[in-house]
Amino acid sequence: MRVDKEQISGVRFMFTIVLYLESSALLTGFLIPVTRHESWLTVLSGLIVSIPVIALFRAIMLMFPDMNLIQVLERVFGPVLGKVLGLSYIWWFLNLTSLNLRDLGDLTKIVILKDTPALVLMVLCIIVTSYAVRYGIKVVTWYSALFMTLGFAILAISVLLVMNQIRFENFLPVFSLPIKKYLHSTHMISTIPLGELMVIMMMTPNVRMSRKDATKYIFGGYFLGGATLLITIIRDIGVLGPTMGLFALPSLMTLRLVRLGEALSRMEILFAIALISQLAFKVMFLHYISVITIAQMFNVRDYKRISLVTGALVIAYGLTLYDNIVDHAVSAQVFAPVFWVIFEMLIPLIVFVTAKLRKLPEIRGT
């Protein structure tokens, strides 16, 4: 049974990947305490190191072009183990959605609405995303091109506006840290957010593309989105220098320093609204993934019915995930990079190897 029968084009699929990574640019702040001004190097190395992982996702998608991840797990591991793994993915997708929803609440509180309770922001966001999820993949990804273009425009304009404050010296010295730090930071960026792209395996049957197009769109989206992560962190290091480590959201601080005379200053609110819109897209996309995963697992014929309930679960879970932003940062540095490897790399790798060993048929591209 396929939960959502709608399909999107390969191009829109690519825009979705780009936007997913673009909206994760705010999270590069997690790297700064580890590799400080050299974090741009680890973003670059993370992008390179993750290429085989993305290739693995692509290979599985092409192997089972008519199945989403939950169906693949049952096909490869059988109904019992497949269901167990499927349940663990439900938890993981809900976890991702809740984390991003909480990020959205925290960001909005820090940037614009400091007195508004995070719960209100989260509830309003989920009402909107639940509405979109009810209409399926087409509506969920409808604005991806618009928001992606908006993201590129924000990045380009912000780089131009802070160009006069970028100091080359802020990038020096290079390769001055112990190798362990580079490995840790590279691993972090590989898991948050590059490895998170495994969520695209839940979309496989909903994307119209050939084998050849799959490579183009998946890697095209990956590199375009990755480039925005790299440029964002280079901009922030160049402008903020050593002060970058002080802030929860370095990108926001960079945008606050934009000042070209009196007229072109205090514009961060415009950027912030755009960034929040991007993050809202990511929450909406992950909410959709969570809903169809649950529907697929429990054979819910009309997944629309569980959209709002799943949203409520995401809010409740999001509120209990961590007590404060420090716990979140520590979790992102210590816990998540280790634990998420299981979902992002280990299980997909076992799926691929098992499928090959069992000589499961490689079905033609849709």
Binding site: T108, I110, V111, I112, L113, K114, D115, T116, P117, V120, L121, L124, C125, I127, V128, Y131, A132, Y135, V139, W142, Y143, E169, L172, P173, S176, L240, G241, P242, T243, L246, F247, M253, R256, L257, R259, S265, R266, A280
Partner: protein
């Protein structure tokens, strides 16, 4: 489309929590921190731009006249955050900090250390890191209450002066982010403009009188205006300004078109050698004397005069900084950036190494413009008499 409309209408609803009504807001245009008379306490002063100049306010404690366009609210508490919270409690409106133009610190407070005050400025979601900082020669709150006659609001007036100077070189201004960046470097000494309030014939004026020099977060000394200028030269990337060079009856005023400086640090056994290579393009604004100089030698003589003056000034300022043990030139930072391994071996003794460092200054000046006149009246007269 329905989704877009839903998002656009629903999400802004959350903003109702953070409503700021203009008639219930005190817009802060300047903040001053001083040591309070009571030991261990801090005097926090906020300059508020009145939306209705004649109206009286429930929270006015600054003794401002009714006609003043600003009022100064004060509180004495142990921390800056408590001070602002206390002002909020005692006034009829809520203070709104994002439009603050300047952050002033009294000298006595700066001598005690500034790091603790930076924290609130960095942490508070409303405060901005690009606000200019200044040290007030005396009590900082006096500057907030000053009526300079040039701008309605002294905070804006000061901010404008500093912004204008920063057009010549960004080193003339120190934003909160610049100060914190130097503190975090571990070896660099922040330099902050000094503001002086003077009264003459009942008229008040505020001016920038040199720069305050810090070691870590404590004020340890000051540079005069001339020294501040040569400090800015040594930091390079200068796009303006002027200076007078020469001696006795022979004086020339030069306008700086551009000036750059390469700074090198070389470790020589147990000592450090610093090299400044100044490269500048100048225009001549005024010449006094030089009557004995023949026209073909004029450019060379002026160039030599300018080079000697720049060299002398840079050396004098370096000497002042060395005397204070303040690495205002980011020399330690440049060693770290170039060779972290070498810096590791030097960083513990850097203060001592800098204090004993030797400086070599080389100046290359190029005069590109003499103005409309090629000679002075005196030179022309001497030339005629000689003929």
């Amino acid at each position: 489309m329905a989704l877009f409309a839903l998002g656009s209408l629903l999400l802004p609803l959350a903003g109702c929590w953070n409503q700021h009504e203009l008639n219930k807001t005190f817009i802060v245009t300047g903040i001053a921190l001083d040591q309070a008379e009571e030991s261990g306490l801090l005097e926090v002063s906020l300059q508020i731009e009145k939306s209705e100049p004649e109206s009286a306010s429930s929270g006015s404690e600054g003794g401002q006249e009714k006609s003043s366009p600003t009022l100064v609210l004060k509180s004495v508490k142990s921390t800056m955050a408590q001070g602002i919270a206390d002002i909020n409690l005692r006034t009829s409106r809520e203070v709104f900090i994002p439009h603050n133009q300047i952050m002033l610190f009294g000298t006595a407070l700066a001598e005690e250390g500034m790091e603790q005050y930076m924290d609130m400025l960095l942490r508070d979601p409303e405060s901005r890191m690009d606000v200019q900082m200044a040290i007030v020669d005396g009590k900082a709150s006096d500057v907030l209450a000053a009526d300079t006659g040039q701008e309605l609001v002294s905070g804006t007036h000061l901010s404008n002066i500093i912004n204008q100077q920063s057009q010549i070189s960004t080193q003339y201004s120190t934003r909160i982010t610049d100060f914190v960046r130097k503190l975090l470097s571990g070896s660099s000494s922040p330099v902050v403009p000094i503001v002086k309030l003077t009264k003459e014939n009942e008229k008040e004026s505020v001016s920038i009188e040199g720069m305050a020099v810090f070691v870590k977060d404590k004020l340890v000394g000051r540079l005069s205006n001339d020294e501040a200028q040569s400090y800015v030269w040594a930091m390079g990337d200068v796009k303006g300004g002027s200076f007078t060079a020469g001696s006795g009856d022979n004086l020339a005023v030069f306008l700086v078109d551009s000036l750059d400086c390469k700074r090198k640090v070389k470790k020589n056994g147990q000592s450090v050698r610093v090299e400044f290579e100044v490269d500048t393009v100048l225009r001549v604004s005024q010449i006094i004397g030089f009557t004995e100089v023949k026209f073909p030698d004029l450019i060379q003589k002026l160039t030599q005069t300018a080079q000697e003056e720049i060299k002398k000034k840079v050396e004098q300022t370096y000497e002042s900084a060395r005397g204070m043990g303040a690495d205002i030139y980011d020399l330690g930072l440049s060693v770290y950036r170039k060779d972290p391994g070498e810096w590791e071996s030097m960083k513990d003794q850097w203060g001592e190494l800098f204090s004993k460092s030797e400086l070599e200054v080389s100046v290359r000046a190029q005069i590109v413009d003499l103005g409309k006149s090629l000679l002075t009246i005196g030179m022309e007269s001497a030339s005629r008499e000689g003929r």
